[in-house]
């Protein structure tokens, strides 16, 4: 494993004031390996409590834990948030439930599915209804789970930190880089499209839903979008991304082509 996982820029503070921090953690595979899709994790620290978004796969658990311990004692983590049920998002959950006293927030659709990762009880799993939910922080700000269903998962949320204005968007906005090409922030949107487009056209549900989600998040004051894979959209790229996504034809819009295995 040590040869396979490379810790590129290990962590970076995306936002910081006296009461509140948002820290990004990333890792990627060693050059030439091709087993894992790269993932981003995000930790919000508000006063003495931590909130971890999309903790990641079993395989990267100890790397993520090690990074987090440089910032906060894991016992201070109050909630784990999962945008959806996929293995790259939360197969590490049984370990995190042991390492922390946190509750897991996940769509009600996956309540009885995530236990299959190996949880002994689900007392600490909170089923989030389709409308989403809000956690009020000690600073008086909040973290909201914003509906993002069918993008791609049927029970899926984006996570918005009101203090920093950071929107953690899960698979929405994800990019897959060729080896050695990864960068942390998007600055050339047109160039970035080539790493994003293929993924979104196949995994996202349909234009109808993309447009619906954009309509919803446009009500928020967004300073930054952090997807679970790939690069971060800084404030000056947010509008460009939302416009592109709301117009995107994808998924079921191409169902005939997909059944015939044609590229589109």
């Amino acid at each position: 494993m040590e040869q396979q996982i490379t810790r590129v820029e290990e962590s970076k503070i995306l936002y910081e004031d006296d009461e509140h921090q948002v820290v990004w953690f990333g890792w990627e595979e060693a050059e030439g390996a091709d087993a894992f899709v790269q993932t981003n994790q995000c930790l919000v620290v508000d006063h003495d409590k931590g909130y971890l978004f999309d903790p990641g796969g079993t395989y990267v658990f100890h790397h993520v834990l090690e990074n987090i311990m440089r910032v906060i004692n894991p016992r201070q983590i109050r909630y784990l948030f999962a945008t959806h049920q996929d293995p790259d998002v939360c197969s590490s959950i049984p370990y995190w439930m042991k390492t922390t006293d946190a509750d897991l927030l996940i769509s009600k659709l996956w309540l009885h599915f995530v236990s299959h990762f190996g949880l002994e009880d689900i007392d600490r799993v909170v089923a989030v209804p389709d409308g989403g939910g809000r956690i009020t922080l000690d600073s008086g700000d909040y973290i909201a789970m914003i509906p993002a269903h069918f993008l791609h998962s049927e029970g899926n949320f984006s996570i918005y930190d009101s203090r920093s204005g950071i929107l953690f968007s899960g698979d929405i906005g994800a990019a897959i880089f060729p080896a050695g090409e990864r960068y942390m922030f998007v600055d050339d949107f047109d160039n970035h499209l080539k790493y994003m487009e293929g993924f979104h056209k196949r995994y996202m549900h349909s234009n109808q839903v993309c447009a619906r989600w954009v309509e919803l998040v446009r009500k928020l004051d967004i300073k930054m979008i952090v997807p679970q894979h790939g690069a971060i959209f800084p404030e000056d790229q947010v509008e460009r991304f939302l416009s592109w996504f709301s117009e995107l034809r994808c998924g079921g819009d191409y169902i005939e082509q997909i059944y015939r295995d044609e590229r589109f």
Binding site: D88, G132, H152
Partner: protein
């Protein structure tokens, strides 16, 4: 615990065995069905299940065939209840895993680093030729619910393993192996399908592609087997069902922003 296994089809060269598994103590795990096809000396395991039930399923499968004779493990999609046991199965067998190309670089996150035993299924599907010149066909079922999703048709026994399509969620103590009363069963299927299945377009596309098959039984990954005489009714129901994004206003209603 595995409370039963049952031979669904058997001839001199070919067997299809169903394994059912249910959590009797609490309600924390969704019940799942596994299917094993044995053809000559080779075996094929469909949707092996969650990490939590691995040892029970492996022990039960071992009563029928040595685990080393499993050639392929087939996964309809990437969910934990389908596949979080895969790390253990790859250790316990020499089998290769067949899964949608969409999930090839995601399933390793269950906890293994050697992708050499993963085989990706292209969007239009694939077929495995069996010794007796029969096939296991991996047929597209995308967006039902997963974006990269397949169902498996065994030509010899005419069994269609449909993954989440046709799944039923029973109230405690109400489970049965094979459905017989359509109206009763509908009550256990409808809620799940309306929320998890993508939309009516995807359902109709799938029904169109499987209607031409000669199907003896449909085995979903959760719930009960749909026998031949109910299949037409089942397909007709799917074709008219409004689900997923057909109901998007309801699902996105009351969004807390």
């Amino acid at each position: 615990m595995v409370d039963q296994s049952k031979i669904l089809y058997e001839d001199d060269e070919h067997q299809v065995i169903w394994f059912g598994w249910e959590d009797h103590e609490n309600e924390s795990l969704v019940q799942s069905n596994q299917l094993l096809v044995i053809n000559g000396d080779n075996a094929y395991l469909f949707d092996p299940g969650g990490a939590f039930i691995f040892s029970d399923v492996a022990a039960e499968v071992g009563k029928y065939i040595p685990l080393s004779q499993i050639r392929y493990i087939l996964a309809t999609h990437q969910d934990p209840d389908v596949l979080s046991s895969i790390t253990l199965w790859l250790k316990a067998t020499d089998a290769r895993l067949l899964v949608s190309r969409l999930w090839i670089r995601f399933v390793s996150h269950f906890g293994f680093s050697d992708n050499s035993r993963l085989v990706s299924i292209e969007d239009h599907g694939k077929q495995i030729r069996l010794e007796s010149n029969e096939f296991i066909k991996l047929l597209p079922a995308h967006f039902l619910h997963s974006e990269g999703n397949f169902c498996f048709y065994d030509t010899r026994s005419k069994t269609l393993f449909s993954g989440d399509i046709g799944a039923a969620v029973f109230p405690q103590g109400e489970r049965y192996l094979e459905m017989s009363d359509w109206q009763t069963h509908l009550g256990y299927m409808e809620g799940f399908h309306r929320r998890y299945m993508s939309n009516n377009v995807a359902l109709r596309r799938w029904v169109k592609s499987v209607r031409g098959l000669d199907i003896e039984r449909i085995v979903p990954q959760h719930g009960a087997i749909i026998p031949r005489d109910m299949i037409e009714t089942f397909f007709d129901w799917l074709e008219q069902l409004e689900c997923g994004t057909d109901l998007i206003d309801q699902i996105y209603d009351n969004a807390l922003v």
